[in-house]
Every structure is written in structure tokens, then in C-alpha cells.
Amino acid sequence: MTLSQTVLVAMMKKETVDVSAHIEQATDLSLYGIGLLFLFFIIRPELWRRLFFTRVDPRPGALMRIGFGLVVFITFYDLLWPMNPLEFSVAKFLFTDEGLWMTDMARQNYGGQLRELYDPQHGFEHWYDPLKAMWGKFTFLHLRSDPPFSMTLYIVMLGCVVSMIFGFRTRLVTIVAFILVESFYRYSPIFYTGGDTVVRVFLFLGMFSRWGEAYSVDSWLRRRKAVLAGGASRVPPLRTVPAWPFRLMMLQLCIIYCATGILKSGSTWKDGTALFYALNLDHFYRYPMTGVVTAAHWSLILPNTAIFVRWWEVLFPLVGIGAALNAYERERASGEWPKAALWRKLLSLGVFLAAWAMMAWVLGVAGVYFLPPEVQSHVHPAQRQALYSGVVMAVPVVSIALYWVLRLFAPKVLTFIRHWVLGKRFWLFFGLLLHIGIDLGMNVGTFAEVMMTVYLCWLSGKEIESFWLFVYQRRCAPGEGDRPARSPRWKAFLFAPYDWFHFRKSGPRYVVRHNPSEASVRRATLVRMLDLGKRVDFVEDDAVPAETLCVEHQGARLTGNAAAAALTRVLPVLLWLRPVRKLPGVGAVARVLMSQRA
């Protein structure tokens, strides 16, 4: 355990330690540290601007909107059903006066300022009091929560979430969804899980993000208009979006993992029995598997995983440092990294180190107070604070020095560190495995799902593009293309996941034949805009009637609704229609969704 982690853990313990001798200095230095960090960005405003106010590809945020929205929808839709011991829906139990809380009692307990500002008989005293009430824990349900009112709001809320998923009037419905979702959460906190907290904090940031600029009805309508009516001569690009809401989401995710890792300070996380106990709790396991869990513990799989998981959580912010370093190296190579005069660079470095020194001092003092005596007994009391502070202070100094040494003398090692040790591919991939594992073994609500969806804010547009290409490609058979035919069999088996992932080929092509007229070309362009997997070719064909969808695939030539039904295989937006494509009318639905006339 690092010094800082030990200290933070110790500070969270409920035992009262008298820190009054140093609390003032610690507070002052913490504030100076925060101030110096701001000063760092005042000296280097270009870095602040690069960090928060650049424009980024809208696709990761858009995909996150869809995934996150689905999780929010499922979270609340699930509450519409009865659950033992209720004869009626959980939502009615939680959010109406016929359930657990009558309106007045809910307001009394959770209404914040509204308790005083609102009188059930006389209403508000001033016209502006509702505004005052909103700056706190306000919810409409603390004023009225009979089932017709609450459930109407509930349906409107679900409608807004659905609209958010589809990206229709995205900005507006995201704001309304946040207000309504919060209204229900604020009625009473008795049912909260970790997943609900994640929903709340990310939906708040979602209001500021323009996550409707891709994969949305809004974006489709805008681009369709530009193609059909705007006279576009090239496919209109997606509009970039401000980065700052997504950067705050990344910060939030780092805080979630780091905090939860630090708080896992008990003995079970140290001796590795934590997962054994967690997986054997009656309230959580999907199925009682005490035998398998005990065997997994006996075989040391669970103890090692528990210890690793905890450290992975504590150290998760490293992926943020990795993302910053990778952006720096990438943009430095392309000449895009913001330039600064040497004096500003040196001054900002000094300010950063000064801020760190403040934190090192505070952590050093905290170490003296909170580190266990058995750890402290190795150091003379007179040297403790200086030693602890020195160790913390050495971290950035050594890291920066090591970075430049590696950069100069071992760039390949540095590249490995940037891409793997600090890279998204390690941290996020392990996180995915972790959450999938949690979700298979335990039912903790939608925590795992919502955490996985918010990972998307870490990805780039290129990565999303690669994802679609990957999905719509096929694996090469052994010996096909560049894929080696491995032998013996164990080797083929061992490398199978790598080969499956790495050696891919394009799937069978779909050819859209279109009339050469301008209107037909523009209609065909709409199909191209939906072709995220790049599986469609376009061919001018005089024989095809104007503005008619005609698809050629594996020798078959289809037109109209049948052609649209065939495209459900390669166009992600139509994927949900694929299983029912042969039903009457489904082809027509697909065609209309693609805005094809015939």
C-alpha cells in the first residue's frame, strides 16, 4: 500500500485522532495547492484549452448516450413490475403516497429547504421561493405524489430517456430526463444502489455534452437535409463537440474507482478472501455456487483476483495520465501540441512541483497521525514527517526524470509503457472483464452495465470507427490471408483469440445500384451515411429507375422493400430488424428508415 493510500484509508476510519495541532496548516496548504494548480493553468492556458475546450469526435459520446440511456431505461422500467412482497409496482411503492412514503413525510425527511418554504395549506410565501427550493434537494414529488401524478411523470421520464437513446431533440430531452430522473431519486434514498449514483452523476454531465451529434435522429435529419435539400457535394461530416463534459466524465470515473479502491481497506481485501465472501452472499449471487467459489478460492484464483482488483481500482487514475501522455506524444509528433516559451514551461513546472510539495507535506503529516504503529516503529519520530513527505515528493520528480531518460535512451520501452502500462487497452479491457465477471456471478443491479457504458467516453472517433469495421468484418480461416496456419493444435488453440481478433477480412459486399440522376445519387448517399461497417459499394446503373433502392448481393438483385430488408445485415441502424426481416412490412419500415422513396 502506498503511503498516500494508507493515510487516506486511515483518515476514513472512525477512530478520532486529535489532529488539531496540524489541521490549520493542512487546510491552508491544501488550499494553496489547489490555488497553485490553477496558477499552473493560468501560466499555461493553452494546456487548459487543449484539455477541456478542444472539439472532439462526437461518435464515442453518441455511442455512450445510447448505451447509458438503455441502462437508465432498464433501471426504471424494471421498477414498473411488482416484486415480492408487493402486489403492485415497485415504482408505486417507492414514488407515490400509496407506497412507503406519504408526501408530507417524504418532504419532512428529504425535502431540504422545501420543508420550510412550502406550507401544505398556504403554499409558498413568495413567488421566488420555488426557485430557492430548487437550489437543494428539490423534487416535484415532495409537493404531490398521488399515483396518477407520479406515474404520469414516470412515463414522461421514460419517454424522455427513450428519446435520448434515439437522439431526438437530444439536448432538450436529456435535460428533462435529468430533472425527472432526479425527481424520482430525490423522493427518498432508501432504494439507492451504486448503479443509481453512477446514473445520477453521469446524467448530470450528459446534459452539458452534445452527445446527440452522431448516431441520432437529430444528426440524421440534419445531414439528410444537407444531402437532399442543401445541395451538398460531399457527405456532410459529423459535427465535432466540446470535450469538457467528457473530460469531466473521465475524471469522475477515475474518482469512482480510486475512491472505491481506497475504501476497500479491510482485512478481507488484504488477505484475498473478499471475493469469496462477496460471491457467497445470499443477497447477491445469481445462483448458489458455494462449491465452485470455494474451489476457486482454494486454487488461489479468487484471492489473487481480489488483491489485483483492489490495486487496479486504486491505480485507475493512471489511465488518465496515460491518455494525456499519449495525446502529448501523438500531437508533438504531428506538430499540433500547443507551443509555449521556455520560461513558461519552466515556471509552470515549478508551480506544479510546488503544488505537489504542498500535498506531500499534508500527506507526510497525515502519515504521522494515521499510519499504523508497526509501520512507524521503523522510523525515528523526529524523522517521520520529513521521510513520508520526501517519499511522496519524490514520485513526480522521479517519474518526470524517468520519462525523459526513457524518451532519450529507450523510446521503445516508453512506447510500451504508454500503450500498455498506462494505456486504455489494459485498464479498460480489464475493467470490462471485471464488470462482466461481477455481472455473471452477482446481481448488484445495473452497476456493472452502467460502468461499462461510461467507458465509451474514453474512446476516440477512430476507435469507434475501427469497432464498426471489426464488427462487420469476418475472421480469416487458418491459412487465409495473412493468418498463419498454426500447428501443433495446442498452438492454434492458444493463439485462436489473437488470430480471431487480428486477422480479419471484409465480408461479402452489398452493391447499391442507383440511377445516375442527381436525386438518385443523393438517395444513395443516405445509404452510405448509414454504412458504418463499409460493406456497401455504389454503382451507377441506367437500368435502375430513378430514386429506387436496388441492391445486388451474391448474385441476387433486389429492389425496394426487399433490398432494404437485405441491407439490415450490414447497416447497424437496421440491425434490430434483421431477425424479423421476412415479416410483411418490415422491409418497408427499413426502407422508410433509410429515407428511400421506392
Binding site: 490549520e24 487546510t27 400509496e98 446481481n443
Partner: protein, 313 residues
Amino acid sequence: MGSKKTRSEGAEPMSEEERTEPGPQSLAEGLLHEPIPEPERPRKWAYANWLIALISVFVAYHATVLLVHNLPNGGLSKELHNWFNKEHEVEILGTKWTPNLDMRTYMQATGNTQSWAMFAPNPHRSNSFMKVMVKDQDGDVWDMAHDIYGRRRYPYLFYDRMGKINRRIIEQKGYRRHYAAWVCREWERTHGGEPPIEIQFVKMWTRVPPPEKLIAEAGGNPFKMGYDPMELKLFQRDEGAIRCRTTRNAQLPNELRERYGLPLLEDESKVFRPVVHRTWWDKQETARRAKERKAQGVAGQPARPARDGGPSK
């Protein structure tokens, strides 16, 4: 049939026979053949400088309070929390200001209050359940089957919020009164308006055996490891009872009785125990009465006025 082929980027290369490149000015070339422009290039800043400055204030504030909020609320960071919640006196150009960063309210108002102590500091090592029982007017005691002990069906697919609430009333005693009030009302609703006497809580728990014990019992044979959760010893402890007659909101008011089609109470004020509020109106009335008393020099007036249709508070 004269045909001219174009192709989207990323496709397999066409053969020479197939390739009939359209002219550079062709609409089909631009819309169906040229690469779709990347949204990220060239880089642009998100807003004008003044707007960047404005939003920077919000970003800096949100990021800072987010970090401070997630620091421990005691020890050396206690005063830091206080600093972000109290008013500060500053003087600018001779004018005194009392800015308040108001972290706590900001986090509440924006739904950002958060705690990430999941399975922390340790996961539970015992399974706890709260048995909820109703004692009716005849003195009979009924188990309401609100706990999940031996009742859950597997595989456990859909998250059980009622199970979560059952755990909450074990961990946080403050919830029990409210939960009991609901059970009282619910019993009344389903029993023709007849209230029960009280709600009894019994905590039950089993201890998850430590792994070393299970491994030793199996003699190190992984195929013999494990245990039956229902075979574990069940501990029980009485956690007290809550009376329906005297607990606030533990009776059905006429408003709800009317909705449920139950007989209305003749004198609701004698049966239904409402929540005690002290709103702006109560304060105003208290102040007015005090002023009147002071003006009249009369002592012994009631401290608070009775409300229309409700009991005096």
C-alpha cells in the same frame, strides 16, 4: 446496360475491368466515392474566448468540489470541507463580499452527492435478513414474508429492490419507523380498514463459513468443497416493535381511505397522526402572536395556532 462504378472507402479494391472512375466534378464521385471528412480535423476550439473563460469557471469549480467532496470528511481534510461550505469575508475595492462556495448544496442540487463504499471496507461475512411481522387486533402474529431468507428463486435475474430495502432497514434503524408505518397502512388497506396493533422486527442472520474451514472439511478435495446456505445456523434477534396507533403516518388518512373505498374516519384528527411541519407560515404566525402578546401584555397564549382541519402542532 451502361454502368459506372464507384466505391466507398475501406472496400476491397476493384478489378481494372470494373474500375470506371467518374470525373472529378461528378456528384456521385463526391458523395459516394470520396472519403467522408473526418469530424476531428482540422482542430477547432469549442467556443469563443469569452465563453471558454466563463465555462472554465464552472469546470474548475465542478472538478475541485468533486475532488474535495470525495476526500474523507474527517481528520486533516475536515476543515477543507468546511472551507468549501462556509462564507468567506473578502473586501474588494472597499466593498465587503461574503462569497460561499456552497459545495454541499451544489452537490445536492446537481445530484452529484456520492459515496463509493461498495463492499468496503470489507464485504459482509454474514447474510442478514429482517423478518417483518404484524400483530393484529386479535393478538395473532403474522410473518409478512418481506425477507428473502429461503424465498428467493434462482437464477436471480432481475434486481430485487425490496431485498435492498430489507437490508437497509437492518443497517439504518431510522428507516424502520417509516417502513413499519407503511406496513401498518398496507395491513389496514387490505383488511377492510382495520389497523394492526404493531409491527415487529426480528433480525435473522447466517454466517458465511470462512474458506479455510471449508477447505479443511473437504480435505483439500476441490470436488467436495462448498456448503448448503440453508444448512447454516440461523441466528435471530428481536429488534423491537413499532405501534401503529402512535406512530406518525402509520394510519390511513381519509384521503387514502376514500381512494381505496374504505369507510371514512369520523374524526380523522383523533386517529391519523400527521407529520409535524414548521413552515414559513408557522414561523410567521408565531411571530405575529408573540407581537400581539407583547402589545397586549397578555401572557399564556398558545405558542402555535391550530390549523384548519388538523390538530394543533
